[in-house]
């Protein structure tokens, strides 16, 4: 009799044990596999030109939407696009368009990129502030970075070897300049390849004969003034065209400044949840005001319409 009760007791306890275990397991599964729509954490990766701007946008967004978490990483446009293809980020920042090779690879892996233009950048050519040169043509910039013009004297400057600073091949800015200014020719092997825009600014500030290229947002310090130690060159489309500076807002908006480009963000397929909401914020008048405050330029009518279509 006693034995039976004991057995029953044991059985009960075992059943209890399994029930609790099952319950715990279920809770664990529910906790670790949140529904996609409720995703409150996204990861953004890519362009170094965009990283500061997107960071500010993300901070502003997170301040307004407590509970949302957005992590922003740099690394270069190529790095961001590769990460999106490999599924290791939710949004890729890039300052150049997708290459055909990357698109092929993406479709092969079932990634269907949707591309949003979130700001306009005026690619800026910077030299040391003591450099007497103020204006270059597009062709001259191309020749300098291809290594054909090697001395500042040729351009009317001091008799000094030109010291070239650029980005690494994972940079969208590197690819953009190569395509649009170097006319798809090789960079000079003498270009010192730096880790990011900020490092180029730093190097040109110290190097009297240095020249480099950076996104327009990097020309300003935290107070919104143009950084000391550098000179932002005015660029002429060709020999006979007037020269314009990337600091001149009107010239960039009217496309008179020759080297401007959209800066993009890509998602895998139609964005949803936090990612979609964040893109909407970036494109809103409020987001675009931040874009302008950070030194970049707002998106025009046409691109904006394209963006809104991509959000649907």
């Amino acid at each position: 009799m006693e034995k039976q009760t004991k057995n029953k007791n044991l059985k009960n306890r075992a059943a209890q044990f399994w029930k609790t275990g099952l319950l715990l397991l279920l809770t664990a599964i529910i906790l670790t596999v949140p529904l996609p729509a409720q995703k409150r954490m996204i990861q953004i990766k890519g362009s170094d030109t965009l990283v500061n701007l997107v960071q500010v946008l993300a901070e502003e967004y997170m301040a307004k939407n407590p509970g949302a978490a957005i992590a922003v990483l740099g690394g270069g446009s190529g790095t961001g696009i590769t990460a999106l293809i490999n599924g290791t980020c939710d949004l890729a920042d890039h300052s150049r368009e997708w290459k055909q090779k990357e698109l092929d690879l993406a479709y092969e892996k079932g990634v269907k990129p949707r591309i949003f233009a979130i700001a306009i950048d005026a690619l800026s050519i910077v030299v040391n502030e003591k450099n007497p040169i103020d204006i270059l043509t597009m062709a001259q910039v191309g020749s300098i970075f291809r290594g054909e013009i090697k001395n500042w004297k040729v351009l009317g400057g001091a008799d000094q070897k030109i010291s070239l600073y650029g980005r690494q091949s994972n940079s969208g800015t590197y690819a953009f300049l190569q395509e649009h200014v170097l006319n798809n020719k090789n960079y000079s092997p003498e270009v010192k390849e730096m880790n990011g825009n900020a490092q180029i600014i730093e190097a040109v500030t110290q190097d009297l004969s240095g020249i480099g290229y950076v996104g327009v947002g990097y020309l300003y310090d935290e107070n919104g003034n143009v950084r000391r130690g550098i000179k932002v060159l005015k660029i002429k489309k060709d020999e006979n065209a007037p020269a314009f500076s990337p600091l001149d807002k009107e010239a960039v908006y009217s496309a008179k400044y020759a080297i401007s480009r959209p800066l993009y963000q890509s998602t895998n397929g139609k964005p949803s949840g936090l990612a979609a909401d964040f893109i909407r914020f970036e494109l809103s008048p409020e987001g675009q005001a931040i874009v302008e405050k950070e030194g970049f330029f707002k998106i025009g009518q046409e691109l904006m319409e394209q963006n809104l279509k991509n959000l649907k």
């Binding site: 092997p189 003498e190 010192k192």
Partner: protein, 301 residues
């Protein structure tokens, strides 16, 4: 009787268990090494479906993303790696040996006890920090001394790598010098040689193999270092003609390009081929160092 036997059996079990754990750990290390080598080889070989082997080893141009024609020549980077490493050793070896001799022969035991941990602490500084010092301090200094517009040169990399190789060189040569039997020095002093002569003519030659091993291990440390050179040498792709030029080393190139390269393309495989070259290089260096050290041990016994 019975209980003793039982205890002995338990101990045997425990002992053989521990023995096996050690054996497996040892085997695991070897397996890892073989695994890395196999993986490198496996991923590097497809590169040569499209790259000419001769071009790979003899061309000085490396530009895989070129819109004109992708080029895969490692010579500039290989020479840059060797140049920066040679510079580092030229600087670090004499200093390292002098410090080792000081610690083993001149310094009082108390001084040595203070110095040695400090030197070993030098090895604990993260390479990013050393690279940062290169950008902000040593680079501009080189620019000023050599009247150049910038200091992001091979020399900058060499100076920083010298700092990083010093702890290895010092501690291994010091061990080698201290392993020289006291009787050698006593004999030398007994025949009338002074302290300096004993050190230079007796102790250093006796510790020669250990000192060479220290040199080789320092070299291995320097040639594989990535972050510091990536930050400090400017990364220009041109063939190096001297220490006052910007250079790009093998390691820096892999670090720069591996993050962005589309997987399973020729460029991707080519980067692994660079890794394989680097692996073989450091493997030979470390193996030589090991063999030399082994020789020294046997000789002194």
């Amino acid at each position: 009787m019975h209980s003793i036997k039982k205890k002995g059996f338990g101990r045997d079990l425990k002992e053989s268990f521990i023995k096996n754990v050690f054996k497996i750990s040892g085997l695991l290390t070897i397996l890892t090494l073989l695994g890395i080598f196999a993986l490198l080889l496996y991923t590097a070989v497809p590169a040569f479906r499209e790259i000419d082997l001769k071009e790979f080893f003899t061309s000085t141009r490396w530009d895989p993303t070129s819109p004109e024609k992708p080029e895969y020549g490692l010579l500039s980077m290989l020479v840059s790696s060797l140049l920066v490493t040679a510079g580092a050793l030229l600087l670090a070896f004499p200093v390292g040996l002098a410090v080792a001799a000081y610690l083993s022969d001149v310094a009082k035991p108390k001084t040595r006890e203070i110095f040695k941990p400090i030197i070993e602490l030098l090895a604990a500084i993260p390479s990013v920090v050393i690279g940062f010092i290169g950008i902000t301090l040593i680079g501009p200094l080189i620019a000023r001394v050599f009247k150049m517009s910038h200091g992001l040169t091979a020399l900058n990399g060499s100076l920083l790598l010298a700092i990083m190789a010093l702890p290895t060189i010092i501690s291994i040569s010091e061990d080698a010098l201290r392993a020289v039997p006291q009787s050698y020095a006593e004999a030398s002093l007994a025949v009338g040689a002074n302290h300096w002569q004993t050190l230079i003519r007796v102790k250093i030659p006796a510790a020669k193999s250990g000192i060479i091993a220290a040199f080789m291990l320092g070299m291995g440390r320097a040639i594989g270092e990535t972050m510091t050179v990536l930050m400090a040498t400017g990364n220009a792709r041109s063939f190096p003609h001297g220490f006052l030029q910007s250079v790009r080393t093998l390691t820096a190139n892999i670090a720069i390009e591996l993050g962005e390269v589309p997987y399973f393309t020729t460029h991707y495989y080519a980067l692994f081929a660079l890794g394989l070259v680097l692996f073989v290089l450091t493997f030979i260096i470390n193996l030589t160092a090991d063999l030399i050290m082994e020789k020294q041990k046997r000789k002194l016994q």
